[in-house]
Every structure is written in C-alpha cells, then in structure tokens.
C-alpha cells in the first residue's frame, strides 16, 4: 500500500527506494521483497551469454575437421559451401593460412575475421544459429563449427583443438581494429557527439 501512495506523489527514484525501506519496515537490502530468488541451478539453465574473456564457456571441444561436417549439414544451406555466402551472409574472408587483416569494407564485416574477440562467434552461434533452429547445437558442435570458420578465415590451424581454455586465447586479426579499444561510458565530454 505504501508503494501505491508513493507512486502518485514521488517521481524520483532514490527517495522512493529509501522511503519504502523505512516506511514498510523491510530489510534495507531488499526494499520491496518482490521477485523470486533464483537458484544456481536455474541460472545455469539460461545463463548462456559469453563475455570477451570467455569465463562462461562450457566444457567440450572441437576441431575444424569435425566442424566441416557439421557446417555442411547445418549451416551451408544458408551460408553457402564453406561459408562463402548464400541466402545469408558470407562468413569467410581471407583463406587458410592467410587471414584478412583489414581494413574492412562495410560489406565485409560479416566475416568472422572482423570480430574483435573469438568468443563473439562462439556466443552468437551458440545462442542464435542455425537460424532455423537456434540453440540446437551441443557445446562440442559449437566449438567445432567455430574452429572450422576460424580455420577457413586463416585464424587458426586445421589441427587446433578449441575448448574453454584455448578459444579465448586466440588473437583475432581485427583485435585492434576498433576505436576506442572497447566501448567507453561516459563519453569524453570534450569530444563532439559525431565522434
């Protein structure tokens, strides 16, 4: 009830929170006591977003050879044989042993060699691909198709094994191709907004 009166009279958020805690006599730490606590097990069931350090990568492993087979079955339909493009984007620029080091034209960005971190390919393919059945690949399969794409882009050797340890260590050819090096907030107040 306290919450309802406050909603009408107060717009500022901080006072609402502080007031609620004291007025409603709840523990300071959880002002409204709403929301359902999540167990670690529940979190593991949906926590698939992987950051640039690859901390969240699961167990499993794969190589480019294994990936070639999976790619032909699950991905080539839209991305073309070996990822050279079809109804969906081309995923390859450069060639085995010969990575494209930029500069990139806008139309070339969809090649995985554009990504500043190797984890980006893993994370996106794991959650969003294949587009006709997102999230259906096993971790082994994702490691394998990523190995295949990185091999075709000249980023790794055909025999390299990718897993939670080796994948984040891959130095991407476009690692230093971004300004600033990582997104920064707040922006430099001396720089105009077009920058």
């Amino acid at each position: 009830m306290g919450a309802y009166t406050m909603r009408c009279s107060l717009n500022l958020l901080v006072p609402v929170t502080v007031l609620a805690a004291s007025v409603m006599g709840l523990a300071q730490s959880r002002p409204y006591n709403l929301g359902t606590p999540l167990s670690q097990e529940e979190i593991r069931g949906f926590d698939f977003m992987v950051g640039p350090e690859g901390k969240e990568l699961p167990g499993g492993r794969g190589t480019a050879k294994e990936g070639a087979e999976i790619f032909a079955k699950r991905c080539a339909l839209c991305h073309g044989r070996n990822g050279e493009g079809g109804s969906a984007q081309r995923l390859v620029l450069g060639s085995p042993g010969n990575p494209h080091r930029g500069p990139f034209k806008d139309t070339e960005k969809s090649a995985t060699s554009y990504y500043p971190y190797p984890t980006i390919a893993w994370d996106y393919i794991n959650r969003a691909m294949p587009a006709n059945k997102p999230g259906s690949l096993t971790p082994d399969e994702v490691y394998a198709v990523v190995a295949f794409l990185f091999y075709r882009n000249g980023i790794i050797q055909e025999s390299d094994v990718l897993d939670a340890k080796s994948l984040p260590k891959i130095e991407m050819p476009n690692r230093n191709g971004f300004v600033p090096a990582v997104p920064v907030w707040p922006p430099d107040p001396k720089k105009p907004s077009w920058f």
Binding site: F46, T107, P116, F178
Partner: protein
Amino acid sequence: MDSNRSGRRRFLKHAAALAGLASGAVSSASGQSAGSEAQPKDVHIHGEPSRFATTLGSGRGVRLRLDHMTYYTPLQDSAGIITPASLHFMQTHSSRLPDIDPQQHRLTIHGMVDRPLSFSLEDLKRLPSVNRIYFVECHGNGSSTLHSTDDPKMGLPVQYIHGMTSCSEWTGVPLSVLLNEAGVQKGANWLVSEGADEGKFTHTLPLAKAMDDVIVAYAQNGEPVRPEQGYPMRLLVPGFEGPSSVKWLRHIKVVDQPYMTWNESMNHSIPRPDLGGKSRWYHFEMAPKSVITRPSGGLKIPGRGFYEITGLAWSGGGAIRKVEVSTDGGRSWKEANLQTPVLPKAHTRFTVDWAWDGEEAVLQSRCTDERGEVQPSLAELYRNWGITDVASQKTSRAIHINAIQPWRVDRDGSVHDAMFS
C-alpha cells in the same frame, strides 16, 4: 539496427499490402488457440483510422528481408510529438515476432548481484512505476543508402528516410528499482540484456545509465506494450541508440566489462576513414537531429500562398533548445516556434510560417540541443569522418547520421529529397 546492409536489400518492397502479410507471421510457441478460427475481425475493438486520413495512402512503410523486418513511422502525417503505438517504427533481426504469454515469461537479473531474482509481469506492476515521454531512434535512421530511391520521379518520402524514429509515453519500473532489489555487487559496471526473440538480440548497457533513467517498460501510450514493441516488457534506454532498448526483455546479467556481443560488434560499429579504416564502436547517445515532416519528399503542395512548415527535432543529449528553418537552401535561417512540451530526449515539434512564391525553394531545418551541439550539414558530418566525396557515399551504408535534410520544392509544387543533389 541496420536496415540497409548493402547488397542485401533483395526483399525491398514498399507495398502496403505486405504489411498485412507480415503482421500475420507471428510465431506461436503455445500453438493456435481454439478461438482463433476465421472470425471476421471487429475493427472497432481497437479502432482503425479513416481510410481517407493518410497522405500517401498507407500507414507504416515496409521493407522486408529474409532476416529483417522494418516498418517506418509515417512522419509526413504526424502531428504533435506522440507516435501512436500502432505507427511506432519497428526493426527486428528476425523474420517472425515472438508471441509471448506473460504467464510464462520471466525477467531474470543475475550475474554480479547478491540475490539473483526473477520477475513476472505481475511483479513489475506491483512495483513503483514511472511514466515518461521518450523517443526511440534506430541508429541507422537517415543512413545514406536510405536515400536511394525506387521512384526516380518523386524520390522517397520522409518516412522511408527518417521514419525509424518515434516517440511515446512509456510506463514501467525504473531499472534501478530492480537492480537495488537484487543488490548489485562491487566491481560491477555493465549489464548485458537479452531478448526472447529468435535472434536472441543482445546489447550491453553501462550500469551508470541503468541506475539513472532506464525503464523496464510494460506500457506504451496508455496500453500494454505491443508485441512489435517487446510485449510483455522491454528496456527503454532514453536518448541511447535504439538497439540498447532490448525488446521482449528476458535476461539481464550484471557484469564487470562491456560484452561487445555479436549485434554490437558486427552491426553497431562502422569502419571510418578518419580512424585509419578502424571501426568506431557504438556511440550510445543519439546526436541532435531535426527534419521537416511537412512539406516533405513525395508530397505535392497545391499552389503558391501560405503554409505552416512543421517538423520534429530531438537529441539523445537532452532537450532541444533551438530549431532554425531555411527556405532558401541555407542562405538565411529563421528561428522556429517550439510547440510545448519541450522535453529532454523526446521529439519536439517545431513550426514556422512560410509563404510560397511559386519559385523553386529548398526547405531545411537545423537544431541545437541543450548542450549547445548544432546539427551539421551532410558535408560537414562527412568531413569530420574524413570523407570529402559526399556523392560517393550515397550507396555506402553509414550509421549515426544526423545531417540536415534539405527538401527541394519544384515549381509544380512537388517536393523532393535533395540530400545528395
């Protein structure tokens, strides 16, 4: 989001007929409900506009592609500052919209928090709410390639060039309330949010912004947020590039660094000559921008005499302080009247009186926001980015374009896009 990656516009269509086709393509997770057999639709339940009420014969403009749907707000017919939910622009990275039952939907907050929590729509509605007017703009809005035209006679109307901005009254819970409820841990300074769409749209947000004015919105203009806008709940990140405002919001993870996920790295960065060909990361805030919505490209004014010129101005950096209008191609400028309310990070409506003498005229507007930042011309903007040959840019995609939009009025009264001529 990028609506115009070059070479991928195979599904470009202007036909309003497609609108019906596409909005029928809603995927149903729970199967078809029994009551949905071909009952004739009662148009009065939600109301429909008069079939005579639109200038260009359609509501939203449409471009459909294999992996994208884009619907453009018909700015040429807009009045005031609020965009009806049914006309709010939409850009998605999927070919189907999620069809979410709120009973099944939960928003989770996890990662670097003391108490990972999940919230239902009902939970959100019990929490203290705010109600604010904000624009949402796609960072690809006004991009150079959007000026390419399929109709060489008239050029594209304003909605296909600038119609990826809309402005609504959003109601929801401040994200800071939810984050405080979960207890953000020391060392956390970013969030990553994921939507429940097929493409798992994901974006990073600075924690400082999240604690400032971000809303988890469940209502828009007095009704539940529509499926196209993220039903049952979405992020609304005031002033930031559209993609930050993740729709069908389902997971928020509190982290200690920007995650630079696929959408952000691939779609929301752009190589730039002034940076030696390196790519600029996304800008967060949208730059100050204005556009004359009437008269505008594709329209025809009936003859000489009095016209009120009207348009919209907005800035991700705060409120609009001033709008100037030129009717002689930028030689002279006149300060426009700003209609109230003038709100930060919201569309602001401006008007100026004009008497047309029947001669060729070029109409354009430029705005200044509360930080004193002035909207640039296209040439200025490109010069900043190290591009001198402006004409060459017509076919190359760019994001974050806030350049002045010139409209040329010919002696027959027809109005044309004059951005590149």
